[in-house]
Symmetry: C2
Subunit: 134 residues, 2 copies
DNA sequence: CCAAATAAGATTATTTATATCCTATTTAGT
DNA sequence: ACTAAATAGGATATAAATAATCTTATTTGG
């Protein structure tokens, strides 16, 4: 239950790799993909998503590639995961209002809220700097 | 990310309903299903799973139905969820050995172990008695 | 024997996950 | 300007998981 998808796993591997590189070092997608053992075309999609929200910067054309959008200590694992997997939500009733008609007096609902908070908290405390092993 | 499936949600609703009933009260599947708003045939499958591991007891034939297998304070939400969803595992590398060749020196791995432990802990602390609202 | 009820296996439909393909666009260097 | 290198983005394909239903069998009380 509650398993990260490949997409999420690949996303983390890819961006953590960037975090291990020297700052502002532009990395080829092909290099990243082979280094972290992820299908290149799939990783391309993931990094496009990252790029849109500024987690990475992309450079097109010859000499292009990817760089972290911010310093590694300013990017949390929570951001990375939610960028590709969507919000952390152990059940539909914690994604927003009106998802379940029973939530008003449901005794289980608070448990999921608690799970959501705990997981978010753990992931938010981990930065790419922590994960880079530097 | 990490969302409970319908099956899990239905399973919880169904067994929590049983916990709200008087002890040893045999409940019709059709009554449970309509009370918690779950497709009856789907709930049947779920309760068959519960029955196999003793979370509920089933009685066949006329006057049959389902009863909790143990007193509600002895059944945790963790048991219920894992019975139908499988083990709590935020990533494949925490399901068992050898799931990922990178786990030996992976910096992310411990984070998932932590998430797994926290979630399991939260769910294990909640019993059906708590959820029954009695 | 009959009607009520769950058990169990098979099957189907839908959705999500996991990619891959193709074309477009951008850029550096010549 | 031209070319090769590189990412962007849309469309498509395949596979797997989810969600549900169908059918048949078995059990039980009356
Ligand atoms: S836990 Fe409660 S509020 Fe959440 S989906 Fe289930 S019934 Fe609805
Ligand atoms: S977090 Fe690390 S150990 Fe776990 S699957 Fe990813 S690479 Fe493997």
């Amino acid at each position: 239950m509650m398993e990260l998808t490949r997409k999420g796993e690949y996303a983390i591997r890819g961006i953590v790799y960037l975090a291990t590189q020297p700052a502002e070092q532009v990395c080829l997608l092909s290099d990243i993909a082979s280094a972290v053992d992820v299908p290149q075309t799939f990783l391309a999609k993931i990094f496009q998503q990252f790029s849109k929200i500024g987690l990475v910067r992309s450079y097109r054309g010859t000499g292009g590639g990817f760089v972290l959008g911010r310093s590694p200590d300013k990017i949390t694992l929570l951001e990375v995961v939610e960028a590709v997997e969507g919000p952390i939500a152990p059940n539909r009733c914690v994604t927003g209002e009106g998802e379940c008609s029973r939530d008003a007096d449901c005794t289980v609902h608070p448990v999921w809220v608690s799970v959501q908070n705990q997981v978010r908290d753990i992931l938010a405390r981990v930065t790419l700097l922590d994960l880079s092993g530097r």
